[in-house]
């Protein structure tokens, strides 16, 4: 794969309700920030990919709202409906196809403007499942129960993830929910859907993010701190919840394997310096650390309490606070990429895990119970 770099990143502060901003206002803020970060004018953006979701926006053709503010005028543009990591993938292929030198990618969502259970209920099959009243939280509770039972993982182990990520979020100026809490606080928080308690669940936030991709020639002209794409892949598992074992994440394993292969990574735990993963719920961070090969199957709980995934540990996971700290749906994965870029550049401020971050992993998910995963490996060096 030819060399592709991320040359600019931006994100808004993620909040419970950004009542002063329309979708376009919010995206513009992230776009402006990314252009300033790259030191680019909008005329140097060759094409644009917006990422949005019609259901969350309450608008068919949601991409209609944010074209102008993403610099789409006079340009070739397109839209991906799914997590921002998928939008970024398409944006990357438009450079690799030889058609464009730079692509600007946005992703956003305002969860405050709808009833999220109704939005996620619509993801379920209208013939067999929707009438059961399932939504993202209840379905993920099924997965959490299955996963924890299979491997003997405890709620207290999962609570450690909540403690870690909410604490990390305190260092994140963009986070929605930075909290200093204990395992006890998590265990005592309101039960939402057994075994998930309130502090096991990410909030639903309003926010937007933007990244700018470039081919090598343009990247070197634009910035002296390009962050290189070392590997990327995505993969979707079966759809009906009963068509797969919810305790497994085979799609993530496949996507990770492919991405690691591209990046030449053989021992992810040792070679990856920091990982930003899609922790919509505490148990998900645990599962994904297994699927990504940071530990063996079923060992996510032990990993969570070992301190290895803390900011100072040997495989820091979500130093930004992850989704538990801020979750504008659709933008969730793109924000992981933004945070990973900052780590590599040494610009992560109080979230910086160490001085010499060479390889960072960013991860996004689409669909329910981690059905479809996209894994990005980013690096300081092109080789």
């Amino acid at each position: 794969m030819e060399r592709i770099a991320i040359v600019g990143v931006g994100q808004t502060k993620h909040e419970a309700r950004k009542i002063q901003d329309s979708f376009a206002d919010m995206v513009y803020e992230a776009v402006k920030m990314a252009l300033e970060d790259a030191g680019m004018g909008v005329n140097q953006v060759d094409n644009v990919i917006t990422t949005s979701n019609d259901f969350w926006d309450g608008r068919t053709i949601s991409s209609m709202a944010t074209g102008d503010v993403s610099g789409a005028r006079g340009k070739n543009v397109s839209c991906v409906e799914g997590d921002g990591t998928f939008g970024a993938f398409y944006g990357m292929t438009r450079i690799l196809s030889g058609s464009y030198g730079t692509t600007l990618v946005t992703a956003y969502s305002k969860g405050s403007e709808s009833e999220s259970p109704m939005i996620t209920n619509a993801a379920f099959d209208p013939i067999y499942m929707r009438c059961l009243g399932l939504d993202l939280v209840t379905a993920c509770a099924l997965q959490a129960r299955r996963y924890m039972k299979r491997y003997g993982i405890t709620e207290e182990q999962m609570a450690m993830i909540s403690v870690k990520n909410h604490l990390n979020a305190l260092s994140n100026p963009n986070a929605h929910l930075g909290l200093k809490i204990t395992v006890d606080d998590v265990m005592k928080s309101r039960k939402v859907s057994d075994p998930l308690k309130l502090l096991d669940c990410s909030p639903v936030s309003d926010g937007a993010a933007c990244i700018i991709l470039a081919n090598e020639e343009r990247a070197r002209k634009i910035t002296d701190k390009p962050v290189w794409v070392k590997g990327v892949s995505f993969c979707a598992d079966a759809y009906l919840l009963g068509d797969r074992d919810l305790a497994e994440c085979k799609a993530l394993e496949k996507a990770a394997r492919k991405a690691y292969g591209m990046a030449g990574i053989r021992d992810p735990r040792r070679e990856i310096d920091v990982a930003e993963v899609y922790d919509a719920f505490t148990y998900q961070e645990s599962m994904w650390t297994e699927g990504l090969g940071f530990c063996g199957p079923g060992e996510g709980g032990k990993l969570a309490v070992s301190g290895a995934t803390a900011k100072g540990g040997d495989i820091p996971v979500n130093p930004s606070g992850g989704l538990l700290g801020a979750h504008p749906v659709i933008a969730g994965g793109l924000i992981r990429m933004v945070e990973a870029v900052r780590q590599i550049r040494g610009q992560a401020g109080a979230m910086q895990v160490k001085d010499n971050v060479k390889i960072a992993l960013a991860h996004g998910v689409n669909g329910v119970c981690g059905q479809s995963h996209c894994v990005w490996l980013l690096g300081r060096n092109p080789n």
Binding site: R17, K18, I19, Q20, D21, S22, A24, D25, Y28, V42, F55, G58, G67, D68, V69, G71, A72, R73, G74, K110, S112, E113, S114, E115, M118, I119, A122, P126, I127, R130, C131
Partner: protein, 157 residues
């Protein structure tokens, strides 16, 4: 599967009910609608680069990609740029009710504006409706801070 003839079933959504939304109008359009509600006045916003006046107002001029912040009063009269007369009735998903036909709908350019606001057009004599016709906004008595505070544009001659 058995060879028996199968009935073809249709599953109806339990929520023929709405998915309720509460969209933020944002600063620019909130101001626009407050001026209509409180003062029966229309405001556009002017691009500092190309000078175009946008109605309804918004933050960014698309072609110039610059932020705008200069409010410009426009209207209350304007010109019909194009229109149509609806003759075939349909159920409006916003209200659940069909608006009685015939009625006119079209794009109105306020005096002083460069973009067109589309809305209903009221008329007495259909033959007088034409592109280039002059119209004036007609307001609801009870205004709530919505684009519907404009009842329609009325043909003036």
């Amino acid at each position: 599967m058995p060879e028996k003839k199968t009935d073809l079933l249709t599953i109806h959504s339990a929520l023929d009910a709405e998915q309720p939304f509460r969209w933020s109008a944002g600063r620019y359009r909130s101001r626009f609608m407050q001026e209509i509600r409180d003062h029966k006045r229309f405001y556009g916003i002017k691009c500092p680069k190309c000078g175009k006046v946008y109605v309804p107002p918004k933050r960014v001029c698309g072609p110039c990609f610059v932020e705008m912040d200069e409010p410009v009063e426009v209207g209350p009269e304007g010109e019909i740029m194009t229109f149509t007369i609806l003759r075939f009735s349909f159920v409006d998903p916003e209200t659940g009710v069909a608006k009685p036909v015939p009625y006119a709908y079209g794009a109105v350019k306020f005096d002083g504006a460069d973009t067109q606001l589309s809305h209903f057009i009221e008329y007495e004599d259909e033959s007088k409706l034409r592109i280039g016709g002059r119209v004036r906004a007609v307001f609801q008595e009870d205004r709530k801070g919505s684009i519907k505070d404009i009842r329609a544009f009325k043909l003036i001659e």
